[in-house]
Amino acid sequence: MNADLRILVVEPNPERVRDIVDALREAGWSDVKALLQMSELNQTVREFSPDIVLIDLTNPDRDTLEHISHATETTKRAVALFVDQTDENLTQAALNAGVSAYVVDGLQMDRIKPVLQTAIARFKMMRQFHFELNAAKQALEDRKTIDRAKGILMRQRGMSEDDAYKLLRTTAMRQNRKVIDVAQALVTAADLLS
C-alpha cells in the first residue's frame, strides 16, 4: 500500500540521513530520496515530485521548502514536515491540523513508522476531501450550464423544460457525447451568436 509513496528527506547531516532512510526502508517505504544540499531543493522537488517531504522542525530552510511547495501546488502534496521532542500532544495537534511529522529527535526510529502512517492516512483523507470538493463544485457548474442550455432551447424553440432536456439528452446519445458537452456547445454557440 505504501509502495507508491515518494518521500524526500531534507537533512544536512549525512549520518542522520542514513538512519532515517534506513528506518523508512525498514518500514516499507523504498522510494526515498535524501537531500543534503539546500541549493538543489527547488530542482529536486520539481523533478522527484515527492508525496511527502521530511524536514526537521528546527531547520531554518523550512521557509524555503514552503515557498517551493507553494509554487508547486501544495494540495497535491502532503506538506509533511515537522516536529521532534517528546510532546505527544503537540504531535497529535499537528497531525489534526494537517501537518505531518518528523520524529527523529534522539533518533527514535521506532516512532517514524506510526507517525508517518498517521500522516499519510491524514494526507489521503485530505486529498480525497479536495477531490470531492472539486467534484461537487464541478457538478454545480455543470448544472448551471445545462440550465442555461435548456433556457436557450425553451426560448428559441418554444419547448417545455422537460422537452428541452430530452432534446439535449437524445442529441448527446446520438453523438455519443455527454449531456454537459452538448449543453456547453450550445451555450458557447449562443454566446457567439448573440
Binding site: S39, R62, L65, E66, H67, H70, A97
Partner: protein, 381 residues
C-alpha cells in the same frame, strides 16, 4: 495581581526588540507577566507553533496573519495582529557584481535603481526574500512592477543565510530585515541600495500576533501583554535610550548579535558598502512614534489587496488588525491614538496632523515611491 505566564515566539531580528525590552527592562513584570521568549528557527515553524497553541503570542511578519485570515498559506487558523511591533526596518541590497553596474545610483533612489537594474539585460534578477508572506516580497513586487522590463525571480532564503547566499552567487540581490543586510556589507559581499521605507514610507513590518480564539478567551493576558509591549516600544523610540537599547539587545541571549550589528537599525545610520561612511536614513525603523504601533485596518487591507484578495477578502483582513483591542487596552495608560482606524494609505507626503483621542497627533508620511494612494474605506472597490 497573580502572575501570568506567556509563551511568546520570535525570530532573531533587530525588530523583535520590543519583546526583548519588555522582558529585560521589566515592563512585562510590571504588568504581572512572566514573558517566556522562545526563539523560532523559521517563520513556518513559528506560525505552526502559534496555530497549534504551543505559543500564546508571536513576533510575526505583518502579511502572515492577513494571509491566514483570508485562507492563504499553510495552516487554516485565525490569527490576529494585536498591534504593530515595528514599521519599516528592511533593506534592499545587491551583490558586488550587480553593484558594479550601478555605481551612479544614489542610496534610496528607487527609480534610478529600477532603470539601472532593467538595463542589466534579459536575465532575471534572483532576489532573496525571507518568506513568501512578507512585507519584503510585497514591497519588492510593488516596486518592481514599475519596470516591466525587469524580471524578478523570488527565492526564499532564511535571513541568517542571506549573506552567504549572495557570496555563493545563489542570489543576485536580497530584501531582508536588519541586521542581515549589514552582515552582508560587513562580509564585503553586497552593497545596500535602498531601505524599505524608500518604497513605502510607513510599512507595517512586524506585528504582535495571537490566535483569535485565544485572544478572546484570555482578555486579561492580552491586556497585560499589549501594555507591556507598548511601553517597551515607547521606551525604544525615545532618542536618549538608543545607546542603552543597543547595549541591552547586544547582551541579550535572545538575539546573540554583537551591538555593532544592532546599532545601525536602531539609529538609522546605514553603511551601504564596506568601508563607506554611513547614510542617515530618516525613520529607518520605528516602534512607537507617530502611532507606529497602531494596527491600522487600512494597512491590513493594503496587504490583502496585494496578496490578491477580492473585496470580501479585504473586508475580512481588516478585522484581523485589532484596532479595537488597541483602543480598549491602551487608552488608560496614556497612549494617544488616531480617532479613525482607517486611512488612505499613501496619502501623506509630509508629517500630518490628525484627530486623536487626546486632541490631535502627528502622523508620519506614508507615501509610496510612485505616489499612488489606496483607499479601502469603500465596501466595493
Amino acid at each position: 495581581m497573580s502572575e501570568v505566564v506567556l509563551n511568546c515566539g520570535y525570530v532573531p531580528l533587530v525588530d523583535c526588540a520590543p519583546l526583548v525590552i519588555a522582558k529585560e527592562l521589566g515592563f512585562a513584570a510590571e504588568q504581572g507577566l512572566a514573558l517566556n521568549l522562545l526563539r523560532q528557527p523559521s517563520w513556518s515553524a513559528l506560525r505552526d507553533m502559534l496555530a497549534l497553541g504551543h505559543l500564546d503570542a508571536a513576533h510575526m511578519l505583518s502579511p502572515m496573519p492577513v494571509a491566514m485570515s483570508i485562507g492563504m498559506g499553510g495552516l487554516p487558523a485565525r490569527v490576529d495582529a494585536l498591534m504593530v511591533l515595528s514599521v519599516n526596518g528592511t533593506v534592499f541590497g545587491v551583490s558586488n557584481a550587480v553593484a558594479s553596474a550601478l555605481e551612479n545610483v544614489r542610496f534610496g533612489d528607487t527609480t534610478a535603481l529600477l532603470s539601472g537594474l532593467s538595463a542589466r539585460g534579459a536575465k532575471p534578477l534572483r532576489v532573496g526574500i525571507p518568506f513568501h508572506y512578507s512585507m519584503h516580497r510585497l514591497l519588492l513586487s510593488y516596486w518592481a512592477a514599475q519596470a516591466p522590463d525587469l524580471q524578478i525571480e523570488e527565492v526564499t532564503v532564511p535571513p541568517m543565510r542571506m549573506a552567504d547566499a549572495v557570496s555563493d552567487g545563489f542570489v543576485d540581490a536580497f530584501w531582508v530585515g536588519e541586521p542581515w543586510g549589514g552582515v552582508a556589507v560587513q562580509n564585503n559581499v553586497a552593497k545596500l541600495m535602498m531601505a524599505g521605507r524608500d518604497v513605502w514610507q510607513f510599512a507595517p513590518e512586524k506585528v504582535l500576533a495571537a490566535r483569535h480564539e485565544w485572544a478572546t478567551q484570555n482578555e486579561d493576558s492580552v491586556r497585560r501583554l499589549m501594555r507591556a509591549v507598548y511601553q517597551a516600544s515607547a521606551w525604544l523610540d525615545a532618542p536618549g535610550n538608543k545607546p542603552l537599547a543597543v547595549e541591552i539587545l547586544g547582551r541579550s541571549e535572545h538575539l546573540s548579535m554583537s551591538p555593532d550589528l544592532i546599532d545601525p537599525a536602531l539609529t538609522g545610520h546605514i553603511v551601504p558598502r564596506t568601508g563607506a561612511s554611513p547614510v542617515t536614513v530618516d525613520r529607518f525603523l520605528q516602534f512607537h512614534s507617530h502611532a507606529a504601533s497602531f494596527p491600522w485596518r487600512s494597512q491590513a487591507a493594503w496587504i490583502a489587496h496585494h496578496l490578491g484578495a477580492d473585496a470580501a477578502g479585504i473586508e475580512k483582513a481588516k478585522t484581523c488588525f485589532r484596532a479595537d483591542l488597541f483602543r480598549q487596552n491602551l487608552s488608560d495608560i496614556g497612549a494617544d491614538m488616531p480617532q479613525s482606524s482607517e486611512k488612505t494609505e499613501g496619502a501623506m507626503m509630509f508629517p500630518t496632523s490628525v484627530a486623536s483621542a487626546r486632541g490631535e497627533m502627528i502622523l508620519s508620511p506614508d507615501a509610496f515611491f510612485d505616489g499612488r494612494t489606496f483607499d479601502f474605506t469603500a465596501a466595493v472597490r
